[in-house]
């Protein structure tokens, strides 16, 4: 007696590129081997670009989106059979290193002998890969030395300090906080105009993220005034810096709840990015992405969910393999078209790392909203695999399990201790993270706002 399905054929020897981590392992392989493929998400191509810059040119990393501090730990959690090297590139075993990866390791070993430009590019590469501790360890002392010296900083010095500051901003602890503050303060005092604007923008953002009272209206107005003042030689880099500065101000207005000025700054930033030349492709596209995210949020704050979806569609269409973009799009669609939102969450689940657990959790939430507790049960159970035992997800799993009569699974879920990742403080969540400087791999403002809107709509 048959079920009517075609037979299930299984090969004795699976394909070489298969594996429990695919397809994310393929898509994100640059984080392990520094290579790139045409169909990689843009942030992955950015890693390969950082390598190219290290080998042959100045780094553009201070102007580009960077991953969150938890990136490598997240990848280690996603790919338990891979020796990811969470703290140090040398953590990748020698026999598993690509030629490019070995160049990186060799560069770190030869650090004192590198030129200033090469050192900056190496720090940029470490940041692109998520090795923020390495950047701080190598660049921190240099940053303090430069700060202590006199005179105006060179471009390379400023670049290195910016990279050290953005790396330190992703490391927890008072020492790292102090390094961020003093590095950027030094840059504000002695960098050129572009460096000063970037430093003030980073500071504004950094303090705003932490709810620091120094995120004051005065700092924003002062920065805005400088951005509006006629200055600079109108180069592409000037316009980029201006765009990033405007976005920093925009996020500050958003935090203050000033929608009008938030929208105005975002519109100005959009105009600025529109004039960037083609040759700075990755930088331009990173900027455009950040502006599009801000525009999406403007629409959301204005209650225009349809417009928010339309704006955000530009992001998913330009970077269809970026799992965060899929998650955000799904979250936006939840307000308008639940079945289509489910499809986008399922796409995110297929893309997987580094947010597989979150994608499954969101899928479970939306399946519950659709009234399908069994599908939600499946999604929540998947969200708890691989040691991802978030207490909230376990509770949801238990609730679904009880609802569908799987009482033993429910009991199991309620009895679980927190996962090792949770106990170690796992991935960073909950910070009001502006998009452009600290990365959007963690749930960013769009996801959080979408969740809030959903909750408010229900109440």
């Amino acid at each position: 007696m048959t079920s009517g399905f075609p037979g299930l054929l299984v090969a004795a020897r699976p394909a070489a590129e298969a594996g429990p981590d695919a397809p994310s392992r393929l898509l994100l392989s640059a984080y392990l081997d520094l290579g790139s493929r045409q169909d990689d998400p843009r942030h992955v191509k950015g890693v390969a670009l950082a390598y190219d810059e290290y080998m042959s040119g100045p780094t553009t990393m201070p102007l580009r989106r960077q991953p969150p501090g938890s990136m490598r730990r997240a990848l280690a959690g996603e790919w338990p059979h891979e020796r990811v090297g969470t703290e140090d590139p040398a953590g990748r075993p020698g026999d598993e290193r690509s030629e490019r990866w070995q160049h990186l390791c060799d560069g770190l070993e030869a650090w004192p002998d590198l030129t200033a430009e090469r050192q900056a590019a190496l720090l940029g590469l470490c940041n692109a890969l998520g090795y923020f501790g390495v950047t701080v360890e190598l660049g921190g002392p240099m940053a303090d030395r430069v700060r202590g010296a006199g005179g105006e900083m060179t471009t390379d010095q400023a670049t290195r300090i910016l990279l050290v500051a953005t790396a330190a901003a992703r490391i927890r602890g008072s020492a790292a906080e102090s390094l961020v503050e003093r590095s950027l303060a030094g840059l504000c005092a002695r960098g050129d105009r572009q460096a000063r604007i970037l430093a003030r923008s980073y500071l504004l953002e950094h303090r705003g993220r932490r709810g620091d009272p120094r995120d004051s209206a005065g700092a924003v107005e002062s920065l805005l005034a400088d951005l509006h003042a006629p200055a600079g030689n109108g180069t592409a880099r000037d316009r980029l810096v201006r765009c990033l500065g405007l976005l920093a101000c925009a996020w500050s207005f958003d935090r203050a709840g000033d929608l009008r000025r938030f929208a105005a700054c975002v519109a100005e930033a959009r105009d600025a990015v529109g004039t960037l030349p083609d040759e700075e492709n990755q930088v331009r596209e990173d900027c455009r992405r950040s502006v599009a995210e801000a525009r999406t949020l403007v629409a959301m704050r204005s209650g225009e969910m349809g417009q928010a979806v339309d704006v955000h569609r530009e992001i998913v269409e330009s970077d269809p393999l970026d799992v965060h973009a899929c998650l955000e799009h799904a979250a936006l669609l939840e307000h308008l078209d639940l079945p289509t939102a489910v499809g986008w969450y399922q796409r995110a689940v297929r893309l997987g790392a580094p947010v597989t657990g979150l994608a499954f959790e969101r899928l479970g939430d939306v399946q519950m909203r659709r009234g399908d507790p069994v599908a939600a049960f499946d999604a929540y159970a998947s969200a708890t695999s691989n040691d991802r035992r978030k207490p909230s997800v376990l509770r949801k799993l238990a609730e679904c399990a009880y609802r569908i009569g799987q009482s033993e699974v429910a009991r199991w879920a309620l009895e679980q201790p927190d996962s090792p990742q949770e106990r170690r403080g796992g991935a960073e969540e909950g910070h009001p993270t502006p998009a452009w400087s600290v990365g959007t791999f963690a749930p960013g403002p769009i996801l959080r706002s979408a969740a809030r809107t959903r909750t408010e709509g229900r109440s």
Binding site: S3, F5, G7, L8, L9, V10, A11, A12, R13, P14, A15, E17, A18, P20, D21, A22, P23, L26, D39, R73, A76, G77, P80, R83, V84, G85, T86, A90, E109, W111, P112, G133, E137, G140, P141, D144, I171, R172, G173, A175, A176, L179, V342, Q346, R347, R350, L351, V374, F377, D378, A381, T384, S385, N386, D387, V409, R411, W412, R424, G425
Partner: protein, 460 residues
């Protein structure tokens, strides 16, 4: 110069001051293998919890009928009573390997218990290794217990080897059927050999041995009846299908059963249930509906009459009821009573709610009954429970979703199946097809790579 050796005279500040990281351990975020039943909380996903008895003989609070059997077999091997209730419900060959593969725990893989690395052995597994190492020194009842335990773990290569050692040490290789112990061991050896080797020679040896046992008047009646039943089933259903031989062995087994007293001991009730379930294969092949129903009713009566006052008795009872209900589900479908087959499938779930296979069975039944929604629910529950049926359940779920028009859902299931089993050709081709429909470049690219590397024919 490596980072760790960097010279402090270069002016850098103290590492501890600057790089105050989150305090987690260095590179390897996963725990070392454990050596006892100590704290296992680092590695307890739902699937690990459900299948732990297979992995390392640990106890689980979430036991299916099959994993309960492992616990029962281990307990019995430890206690070594004079009387050994048989473990009735054994896993198919390769189940343990499939579980380990799906969990990504191939470091526990072995053909013999002693092959598991010492640092991975729990206290219980270490005991099993001690028993197998000193197997010849064990009394016969203990030897049987250890072989049974290996059977429940799906370690059939070890079963073959241990049975051979038992026969050799007892001086029984010349005429193993001279005693019931020899007959028991030889049966295990040949049956396991047939499962592992899958060769015609091994299979024929197994069949021949069963026939010899069934005809050996000096052997215990239970052994002869079991052998006869095995032959009835063998000639009724497998590639050896031969209705005449099946009928002949049914007649022979009926004669043996006529002298059997089920009421003598509670374990005889189980054999009686197996008898009526086994012999009904003949009228089933002959299309005799009423006779099949009558005989399965009797099988069920005997199984339900088994006591369940202790954990051991309850385990045994469930072990007999499980395959019986599977047969009764098939019977109901064969009779065209889809509602009845659904009801029995749901009963099977109640009996064994943590076994993924019963949900797949229920899903199939609901699908035949036209209830696609319920079928999807049951396949999903099977998928959640996972190994060793993750691939099959995700595949069936994917097919059902695709039939229902949920292309995204179906594609996700095929991708998930491929993550669990990269060699699943059918899933790779389905993923290719659906990824194109959905314009999912990532899945398409990956499925294309997989499918192009896979052979067009099955390897298993």
């Amino acid at each position: 110069m490596r980072i760790d050796d960097r010279d402090a005279s270069a002016g850098r500040t103290d590492r501890g001051d600057v790089t105050q990281r989150s305090g987690e351990p260095a590179e390897n975020t996963f725990p070392d293998p454990w050596t006892s039943e100590a704290d296992l909380s680092e590695r307890l996903s739902l699937h690990w919890t459900l299948t732990r008895p297979f992995i390392d003989l640990s106890v689980t609070a979430m036991a299916s009928v099959q994993t309960s059997g492992i616990e029962a077999a281990f307990t019995h091997a430890c206690d070594d009573p004079g009387y050994s209730p048989p473990i009735h419900y054994h896993p198919a060959a390769g189940v343990r390997d499939r579980i380990l593969r799906e969990l990504g725990a191939l470091e526990f893989s072995c053909t013999h218990p002693g092959e598991v690395a010492p640092e991975l052995r729990t206290v219980r597994w270490s005991r099993l290794v001690e028993w197998t190492d000193g197997f010849e020194d064990l009394p016969e009842t203990s030897q049987k217990s250890v072989v049974s335990l290996c059977q429940t773990l799906s370690l059939y290569t070890a079963v073959t080897a241990l049975a051979e050692r038992a026969l050799t040490s007892a001086g029984r290789t010349e005429d193993p059927l001279a005693t019931d112990f020899g007959a028991w061991m030889l049966t295990r050896k040949l049956r396991a050999g047939s499962l592992v080797l899958r060769s015609e020679t091994a299979h024929q040896a197994d069949i021949e041995n069963l026939a010899n046992i069934a005809l050996a008047a000096h052997l215990p009646l239970e052994q002869r009846i079991s052998a006869g039943l095995s032959l009835v089933v063998q000639y009724s259903e497998s590639e050896d299908k031969d209705p005449a031989l099946a009928a002949r062995w049914r007649a022979a087994t009926e004669k043996l059963f006529a002298g059997f007293r089920p009421e003598e001991h509670w374990t005889h009730l189980g054999l009686a249930s197996s008898y009526w379930r086994g012999i009904c294969f003949v009228p089933f092949q002959q299309g005799l509906r009423e006779q099949v129903t009558e005989e399965l009713e009797r099988a069920e009566q005997y199984a339900l009459a088994m006591p369940s006052d202790s954990i051991g008795e309850e385990t045994m009872r469930r072990q007999y009821l499980h395959p019986l209900l599977e047969t009764r589900i098939r019977e109901a479908s064969w009779l065209g009573d889809l509602d009845l087959s659904v009801a029995r499938a749901e009963r099977l779930i109640e009996l064994d709610p943590l076994e993924p296979k019963v949900y797949i069975t229920a899903g199939d039944v609901h699908l035949r009954a036209g209830d696609r929604e319920r079928a999807v629910e049951r396949y999903r529950q099977a998928a959640v429970l996972g190994p060793p049926y993750t691939v099959l359940s995700r595949y069936k779920l994917g097919c059902a979703l695709e039939a229902a028009g949920d292309i995204d859902g179906a594609l996700s299931e095929f991708v998930t199946a491929l993550r669990a089993e990269p060699g699943a050709i059918t899933c790779a081709r389905a993923a290719q097809r659906l990824a194109r429909l959905r314009d999912d470049a990532a899945s398409m690219s990956w499925a294309d790579r997989l499918a192009s590397d896979l052979p067009g024919d099955s390897g298993r």
